[in-house]
């Protein structure tokens, strides 16, 4: 029998055990995750003080001095002296993000419920442990965060005077810094996961504001952990900082600007080059990824004096890694062209490294100060280019950049996206405003010469602009842009847009059609999962059942079309874009009977376009709205309206005495097709029979060699194989099943390229850049017609 005393004792014991159990429960990892709870100090911890740890201060290749270091090498031997990690209980750091206690935190994997803690407050771990990956990631991220925010503070001090007035027309709003020294930049903490289960990859997932660092090898033998390479950590964090920089002026908007997408584009390649530069920014070493990427033959230099480069590349003015010559040049496989944003991005990372060195040389800055100065210029540049409010700078006004606040994303992503020209032009302007301003004396008591800005850019083939474009859309008689000295343009080549033509070879196709069901399904699903393509017509069957694979365009199909473009000049053409998005090329006359928009194709005057199609007898319209693009009132912002956008394709209509080109709406009325049978059934929709799928309505080609097609440019001389097409090289069209076979469709496409003489600046207007609204018309483009017979 139990007596009262024993029962009391039992209760007491159970209570104590309950407490112990609760404590145990908080310490034991959960079964469904890879959580690391409170971990006992490893042998390494015995060597460090509280709040300290030992990390790989650089990547293993650099620390060992052995370029062919084996992946079997014990990386513990490369650990440096103890460094401060954090006195926080968890790997959370940097109080610079206003509204957040910390700017970022590091955990092992996404599923981690508990962040890493140590029993003794020490952060020493075996290099091969998941704990070490987190500590190493934390240390290097913290280093970059501290540097970046301290730099941003200095940027503001260089931009605003003691009374908080801007010293010049800066893009960085004073309000990004709060009274307590923190920054109003991000309202969500960045999470970094140091031990992600992704092969040969690391990524920045913007939607969840997280970084993931993966591995190389196999799932059972992960030979290289990407978080062991500090340059990878800087690069991926660099993408996060680019988002901050691009959106410095977008705090009042829910949607944000970003550099590029999964498809090839110059904006995307600049983003990759900038991320490489973030590594140089922190460590001053002009090479990225020697360990993690290097083991896959994919590391990247950032200076021409790097031994990885091919002969003929050097820091001599005429041997720089110049645009467009070295687009698609992979130093690891120099003879084989590859269209890849990371590879092309090397041009910008090399330029920024060279700019840092030039500033050190000419202005007496230390190398570290020069790197920080370049980052300050990047803050300015990206803040202006990414401004979706359309104001641009402190002295700007609505409509200065990216058209207007309603349509800014369309302009930013499609009509006037960041490319090598706009990016370097804005960098040049910011150099001129700051270190190049004689009144500020910021270069050895003097100033960085305008000729220096232009000469260095020219050595990279990047002096592609004719003015510094200070006033953008607000240019007028009193706001005059500073011209570039033509004498400084020695290496940069500008080519007339008339030189982009279709392959003139006898028998060559002018366009390629892909309608294979499997390929189309793969393309659409990939573009959709990447967030590029939204909904499609309910008419299109889920299995693309109308796609018959005969390489022709038939009713009900989804097809991918690539133009067979040819560079008819004697210089390399780069950043070639084919646009099939809706644009301002139809009249806005309403039908007097039913009030519907007629939308006949405009026949533009020769002053506006090379395109003299169609004749008025063929349906060409020449009403007033066809003679102007957007508002005609200078410097008055009138946002683009739906009437400013017409579908890219018109229909051939056989009438009693002639054949005319008419809008899809007019053709629909003529054949008495109900609007419910249209691709787009929404009221007022203009696409009934055929449309370029939004998001897949532009094609991109990195470069085209002189007197060559893109296919010839990309031909691999080592394997003797043709380069295939990627999803970004084609335009996807959706075709209605109700389109009558035998109908001919004309799609008025617009083509341009980056190193173009007459695609961005207007010789008839002091070589000023075209106003943003003009990019919605024909003037900055070569118009190319795609005529598609619909075949049953």
């Amino acid at each position: 029998m139990w007596n009262l005393g024993e029962l009391k004792k039992l209760t007491k014991n159970l209570s104590a055990l309950l407490l112990v159990s609760a404590i145990l429960a908080s310490c034991v990892p959960g079964g469904s995750s890879n959580v690391r709870g409170r971990v006992s100090a490893s042998s390494s911890s015995s060597n460090v003080a509280v709040a300290q740890g030992r990390v790989l201060k650089d990547n293993p290749i650099i620390l060992s001095g052995n370029t062919s270091l084996s992946t079997d090498y014990d990386l513990n031997k490369l650990l440096g002296t103890a460094v401060t990690i954090t006195s926080n209980a968890f790997l959370q750091s940097n109080p610079n993000c206003q509204g957040l206690t910390y700017c970022f935190e590091v955990r092992e994997v996404k599923e981690s419920v508990s962040a890493l803690q140590t029993a003794d407050g020490k952060w020493g771990f075996n290099v091969n442990s998941p704990q070490f990956l987190q500590v190493n990631t934390f240390y290097h991220m913290n280093k970059l965060f501290d540097l970046f925010f301290s730099n941003l503070g200095m940027s503001l001090a260089s931009t605003y005077d003691a009374f908080n007035f801007p010293i010049y027309d800066t893009a960085i709003p004073f309000t990004v810094r709060n009274g307590n020294g923190s920054f109003t930049l991000n309202n969500q903490m960045l999470k970094a996961f140091a031990n992600c289960d992704v092969l040969n990859n690391s990524y920045y997932e913007q939607a969840t504001e997280s970084l993931c660092f993966g591995y190389s090898g196999t799932t059972t033998a992960k030979t290289v952990r990407w978080a062991h390479d500090s340059t990878i950590i800087y690069h991926e964090s660099g993408h996060f900082f680019q988002k901050l920089q691009l959106n410095l002026r977008n705090s009042s908007r829910p949607n944000k600007a970003q550099m590029g997408s999964i498809l090839y584009s110059e904006a995307g390649s600049i983003g990759e080059g900038l991320s490489d530069f973030f590594s140089y920014y922190v460590n001053g070493r002009a090479h990225w990824g020697e360990w993690a990427a290097g083991k896959l033959n994919a590391s990247r230099p950032m200076s021409e004096d790097d031994p990885l480069h091919s002969p003929g590349i050097s820091t001599d003015q005429d041997q720089r890694l110049a645009y467009p010559q070295y687009i698609n040049y992979d130093p690891n496989y120099p003879a084989e062209p590859v269209e890849d944003i990371h590879i092309t991005g090397m041009i910008i990372s090399h330029y920024l490294t060279a700019l840092s060195k030039d500033i050190t040389s000419k202005c007496g800055y230390s190398n570290a100060s020069s790197r920080e100065f370049v980052m300050y210029i990047l803050n300015e540049t990206l803040a202006e280019l990414g401004d979706l409010t359309s104001v641009g700078t402190v002295n700007g006004a609505a409509g200065k950049v990216n058209m207007d606040a309603v349509n800014s994303r369309l302009w930013f992503e499609t009509l006037n996206p960041i490319n090598y020209r706009s990016f370097t032009q804005t960098i040049a302007k910011n150099l001129l405003n700051s270190i190049g301003n004689p009144l500020l004396s910021r270069c050895n008591g003097s100033y960085y010469q305008k000729d220096d800005i232009e000469s260095l850019l020219d050595s990279y083939g990047l002096l592609l602009f004719k003015t510094y474009n200070q006033y953008r859309n607000l240019t007028d008689g009193t706001h005059v842009n500073t011209p570039v000295s033509a004498a400084n343009r020695k290496k940069s080549v500008l080519i007339s847009k008339s030189n982009i033509i279709l392959d003139p070879t006898t028998g060559a196709s002018s366009a390629y059609v892909i309608d294979n069901r499997t390929q189309i399904a793969k393309g659409i699903t990939q573009l959709q999962t990447a967030g590029l393509v939204g909904a499609m017509s309910t008419q299109t069957p889920t299995d693309f059942g109308f796609n018959n694979g005969n390489s022709k365009v038939s009713p009900g199909e989804v097809v991918a079309i690539a133009l067979n473009l040819y560079n008819n000049s004697n210089s390399t053409m780069a950043g070639v874009e084919v646009l099939a998005n809706d644009w301002d090329h139809a009249n806005t006359i309403l039908n007097s009977t039913n009030g519907a928009l007629i939308g006949r194709p405009c026949r533009f005057p020769t002053t506006m376009s090379n395109d003299q199609w169609p004749l008025s007898t063929e349906g060409g319209a020449d009403e007033a709205n066809c003679l102007n693009i957007g508002t005609t009132v200078p410097n008055v912002l009138i946002p683009a309206t739906p009437n400013d956008f017409a579908p890219v394709c018109f229909m051939q209509s056989n009438e009693a005495s002639s054949t005319k080109w008419v809008s899809q709406n007019e053709f629909r009325t003529k054949i008495a097709l109900d609007t419910n049978s249209c691709l787009d059934k929404t009221p007022g929709a203009k696409d009934c029979f055929i449309r370029a799928i939004k998001g897949a309505d532009k094609a991109y080609y990195s470069k085209i060699n002189p007197k060559s097609t893109w296919g010839q440019t990309m031909f691999n001389p080592v394997t003797q194989k043709a380069y295939g097409l990627e999803w970004g090289n084609v335009i996807f069209f959706e075709v209605s099943k109700h389109i009558p076979p035998g109908t001919v469709v004309d799609c008025r496409l617009r083509v341009r390229f980056t190193n173009c003489e007459d695609c961005y600046h207007d010789s008839a207007n002091n070589n000023n850049d075209y106003l943003d609204k003009e990019y919605n018309g024909p003037k900055p483009y070569k118009v190319i017609h795609l005529q598609i017979p619909i075949t049953d």
């Binding site: 039992l10 996404k110 309202n187 944000k256 983003g271 939204g534 998001g695 999803w727 005529q787």
Partner: protein, 216 residues
């Protein structure tokens, strides 16, 4: 003897309690989150939807709202409305003006919120996906976009695709509150994935020139 018995009993109870507590924390299969929805492609024409389960969060490597609240250290929830203009609890964008924050200022709306917008969007975004693909949608914020003095109701969402082979991809989107159509997307993932040397392209350039399509 009694002491030994007491000790064994206590230890057993202690471990029992420990196990129970851990089970409570990590038994997640039935847990759901109301502002999340999952769409599943079950067959060529069959798309089903349900409130996202904790198992699906785990599959998609998304920290479930339940786990998020139990994370150590806990994350401080940001204020999504901070610094933005608001009308009727919806963020204003486009041609914004402080006057529109005042609900007495007239604003003609071009659409009407439809409770089924998410279903329409989910079905649209899944129609072409292969079987067993999942789409996780998280409602983030309601929005009004103003253009030409008129407003359009939109919903800001986070979309995550999860393929059968475990590949995942996410982005943010604005969706029409009536038609469910995606209006724009951003915050797409930036990959560092190293493409194997000599990897094949998505398509070969067709050699068949007899397509009748001409360009000039």
């Amino acid at each position: 003897m009694k002491k030994t018995f007491l000790f064994i009993l206590s230890i057993t109870v202690a471990f029992g309690i420990t196990f129970y507590i851990k089970k409570q924390n990590y038994t997640v299969g039935s847990t759901t989150a109301p502002d999340w929805k999952t769409f599943v492609k079950k067959g060529r024409r069959e798309i089903a939807s349900h409130t996202t389960t904790s198992n699906e969060f785990a599959e998609a490597r998304i920290i479930s709202p339940k786990k998020e609240s139990g994370r150590a250290p806990s994350s401080i929830k940001p204020n999504p409305y901070k610094g933005l203009m608001v009308r009727n609890n919806r963020i204003l964008m486009g041609d914004i003006d402080v006057k529109y924050e005042d609900e007495s200022t007239e604003l003609t709306m071009v659409n009407t919120p439809n409770p089924g917008w998410k279903e329409i969007m989910g079905n649209d975004m899944m129609r072409f996906q292969p079987e067993d693909t999942k789409l996780l949608v998280k409602e983030e914020l309601p929005v009004i976009k103003i253009q030409g003095g008129q407003g359009r109701y939109l919903e800001q969402v986070i979309i995550t695709y999860l393929s059968k082979d475990g590949e995942r991809s996410s982005f943010k989107a604005l969706v029409d509150s009536d038609s469910g159509a995606i209006v724009e997307t951003w915050d797409r993932t930036i990959q560092e994935k190293i493409r194997p040397h000599g990897a094949a392209s998505a398509m070969t350039i067709p050699t068949d020139n007899d397509n009748g399509v001409t360009a000039r």
